[in-house]
Symmetry: D2
Subunit: 328 residues, 4 copies
Amino acid sequence: MTSEASGGKFDLIAIGRACIDLNATEYNRPMEETMTFTKYVGGSPANIAIGSAKLGLRAGFVGKIADDQHGRFIRGYMERAGIDVSGLTVDTEGHKTGLAFTEIKSPDECSILMYRDDVADLYLRPDEVDEDYIRRAGMLVVSGTALAQSPSREAVLAAVQAAKKHGVKIVFELDYRPYTWKTPEETAVYYSLVAEQAHIVIGTRDEYDIMENAVGGANEVTTANLFKHAPEIVVIKHGVEGSYAYTREGGTFRAHAYRTQVLKTFGAGDSYASAFLYALIRGKDLETALRYGSASASIVVSRHSSSDAMPAVEEIEALIAGQPVPHA
Amino acid sequence: MTSEASGGKFDLIAIGRACIDLNATEYNRPMEETMTFTKYVGGSPANIAIGSAKLGLRAGFVGKIADDQHGRFIRGYMERAGIDVSGLTVDTEGHKTGLAFTEIKSPDECSILMYRDDVADLYLRPDEVDEDYIRRAGMLVVSGTALAQSPSREAVLAAVQAAKKHGVKIVFELDYRPYTWKTPEETAVYYSLVAEQAHIVIGTRDEYDIMENAVGGANEVTTANLFKHAPEIVVIKHGVEGSYAYTREGGTFRAHAYRTQVLKTFGAGDSYASAFLYALIRGKDLETALRYGSASASIVVSRHSSSDAMPAVEEIEALIAGQPVPHA
Amino acid sequence: MTSEASGGKFDLIAIGRACIDLNATEYNRPMEETMTFTKYVGGSPANIAIGSAKLGLRAGFVGKIADDQHGRFIRGYMERAGIDVSGLTVDTEGHKTGLAFTEIKSPDECSILMYRDDVADLYLRPDEVDEDYIRRAGMLVVSGTALAQSPSREAVLAAVQAAKKHGVKIVFELDYRPYTWKTPEETAVYYSLVAEQAHIVIGTRDEYDIMENAVGGANEVTTANLFKHAPEIVVIKHGVEGSYAYTREGGTFRAHAYRTQVLKTFGAGDSYASAFLYALIRGKDLETALRYGSASASIVVSRHSSSDAMPAVEEIEALIAGQPVPHA
Amino acid sequence: MTSEASGGKFDLIAIGRACIDLNATEYNRPMEETMTFTKYVGGSPANIAIGSAKLGLRAGFVGKIADDQHGRFIRGYMERAGIDVSGLTVDTEGHKTGLAFTEIKSPDECSILMYRDDVADLYLRPDEVDEDYIRRAGMLVVSGTALAQSPSREAVLAAVQAAKKHGVKIVFELDYRPYTWKTPEETAVYYSLVAEQAHIVIGTRDEYDIMENAVGGANEVTTANLFKHAPEIVVIKHGVEGSYAYTREGGTFRAHAYRTQVLKTFGAGDSYASAFLYALIRGKDLETALRYGSASASIVVSRHSSSDAMPAVEEIEALIAGQPVPHA
């Protein structure tokens, strides 16, 4: 029994979906013409947990998996990755594992065919979130997609209440996916509700616009609003232009993207988050943490999967060392 | 055009359901044996708005009514009661008005046969809540039942966010009704979420237990938790034993119930809330406000309806003056 | 124990809904202005069973009622009317009794405000239809509305299969109500399916158009199609113009409407059906049976309720005798 | 434009689901350990249409596909197989393609992980079934699974009504799959309803038990009941013991299974049906048709897919010729 399972501490616990990615084995063609698919674990919070574990963090996961071959594959893969899975519950009502068929027509044209209707992860219930488990974490990483539907929504809100009660830092990865959300207003209500209670908020500029139910929002306005509430660090990503980190104390930091041979665009955000959080947890300064995030993202977009491709610390640090002046 | 409709201020705006009560015309027998029913407006927030208007407050209402004869009756009744109904929207998807058939077997044995499935009030959407309307209120009165289901739930959360943004005091009437809520955990999550953001919380001891998903909770624990967050006044009602008001500063006040000839138990809480809030708004001290609440409740339980029976100020004050030492 | 309950024969068994009618006590005004409602049993097949029992037939009923005061009222009323209710099951899943609030603005302007969402009668299941009970009937009277939704739809189809297997005559009262049906095509599929298996089909011209998913259909075409299958008698009602009965052998009969002081239009069809079937069962010829139907309908439209107002044989026969030459 | 598309005749039109099979590329291990899947068209009626077209029949298909890469793959594959797809409609409400992940642990231990919730094929509506298209067929092949849910259920019932009206022979492939059916009684109601209207009924003994909502049914009873209605030929399959064909005139024929190297058990029924119907359409006698069915099934179970593996006529005839005395 690991120290985690027996009551030790976790660097972070991620909560939300763990799914199956089915990546077209043949690249650079429409999915109608691909005949084989390779299976990986997927889903933003699962990927962040896997990425963190691969970097050496003690990671836990809270979620719900289907009672079938795909669910068991997910559990087995996460265990082998070193994640504590004692917070995983198994669905007993016949819900299936979420699927993402990925299509890579070209490095710029990637799309995903999602199976998200009534999937097991959205059926995690608040009574299945153990307050004692959450309190053992340094950080609780919440994925926005888990807020899309009841009862997963209430499970996450209960986890957030537990984290606040026990002084666990809350990290909110906006991770917006249009599927399952019903209206922009509903989305904005829950994104605002959780962002205002989080300590670290991470997302793309587009995702913050979703949170604000607005178009073309400005980082200054977003951060001014969030810093009236709990947030201490707000990370806003602008794609190839790089990313910005803002602090409640008024600091602004920027990281550029690293050059790489892009195969596809999936998985960049999750690898970014895991390396960024890793660096913060290891005591790096914010600017360095941004660089870890960027470097990790660059590595994953050059590889076939999102989870299996998560880099080791050495790879990230080698890339940072090798590109001391990132391209503008 | 009233000053309210043209942009003036409201003492309070209530948000939530407005329904139809069908009260058995024949008393003291099971409903199987009653043959006629009298129609009234009902629903906790509607009753509070009606009670407040009858006491002379400038009241507004935000809700959704069915596009049928019952919906039009509700709108007409509220308008005639002096409530601003510009925040009422009409359902366009065929949802019906909620119904409550009341049965008065004896003063102690009252029951309600509820029609609450897919009723119009639960379909109020967040985009139908006007932030500019909410900001014109001194108080926003939120009813817990409106949190039971989407999209009404998100409409209320959006109203709470608007009220916080514009410095409008939030009053949370727990108003717990078992229908439509799915699980105790879900209920507790949303009750806690809104109670922690409210300035005044009002409910029975049983309702606070629902909020805490616990049994036999203690007022001291409840208030200690709530005073860590936004609440300034917490009112906890203990039925015939009377009610308590607690303040963030540490004050505790108690009001006794007034003697009356009880006909039925319906409507006591709503008349309590409207008179209590009326007194606070008029600048009475907390102890006096509790007395107004108790007196108003005593009057309503002696009458046939909940809304139509709401007392005038003179009646409340006469009862208080006539029973200077309330029975213990 | 009655002979019916102990295994005797029934003249007819009706299957489908038994609901509550709430008739505005005040006439000739919009419902917004009516304040009291009188409660009656309602629903086409319940009314037909009540009408039949009042005429002296041995009637049974198969349906599902809510586990509440309204459900118990229905059961009690039907029992007192002399109907065998051993085929009634009680809903255990919290479904409510269907309601119909009636509005009588004028004899020509009547409307109904229906509560039909998720009502108990639509939850009758096929395993709750007892084949041995059905086989004891001379006729099975099926109401089209019971086909609107699963599992009531399958319960009726199972009852029809049982009736066919045991040589029980099937009477199909089209009884079309727009609520709960989803599309015209779906409606047409099930109406055709049952009509083709029935021996007697009764409906208005408009209802046959619904069955054919067509507009302005001709009686000749309708009957030509139906007589290719099981039907032996087809009754098509044309409102004030009277009604027609067609036989498989080629006969055509017409009945005129009887003069009366019309109070409202509700309930005419059900009283027509019960008197028409009564006459057939008592061995009257088809032309006489049509007259019984018309006379019974005329009596009910002059009275306040649909069920309670069902006439006795003497009343019907007195009206027929008193108006030997019906108005054209 | 083919003669079919321009109004010619079809040997058969199949109606129902067309899905995606994802067959584990690695055999003889649990799916948790398989990493790649190969994509095929699947679904009983699609397979029968593909099998028939491969045998040289003029085949059409009526169904609904998702508006995505999987849907377009299905359409393209069927077109290339020579099937007329003008009866295919594209879902516009975001429903997904049904999926079947197959697991081949050993030739005897095969299982399927199904994604059937809210899939596009179950949303075929009755107004999307063209009566003029159906009338052009010699046979309409109905799959029982399409009856599992509305509106696909009503679409099939409408197709059956159209076929009856225009003298098109109805073939009912019971094709029972437990997913999506709610209760045994509901299943039995619709299976009986369609079987009684079909001319040829094909299924396993277990499937006939489902139709009768009974256990351990006898072929004699099943056929006695069905021959009271429309059926002329009833085929009942008993797995390795072979299959029986019964005729309304009293004939009984038996076919034995052909020896083969079994890889998996999927797809046997569909290949059986297509070859059996092919033989009947080509004028073979019933005993020969049974042999064609058995031989075709034997070929498919030795191959990796269900659709792609459908044999040509020469293969079937070679197998029959090569095993003149099938094993008992």
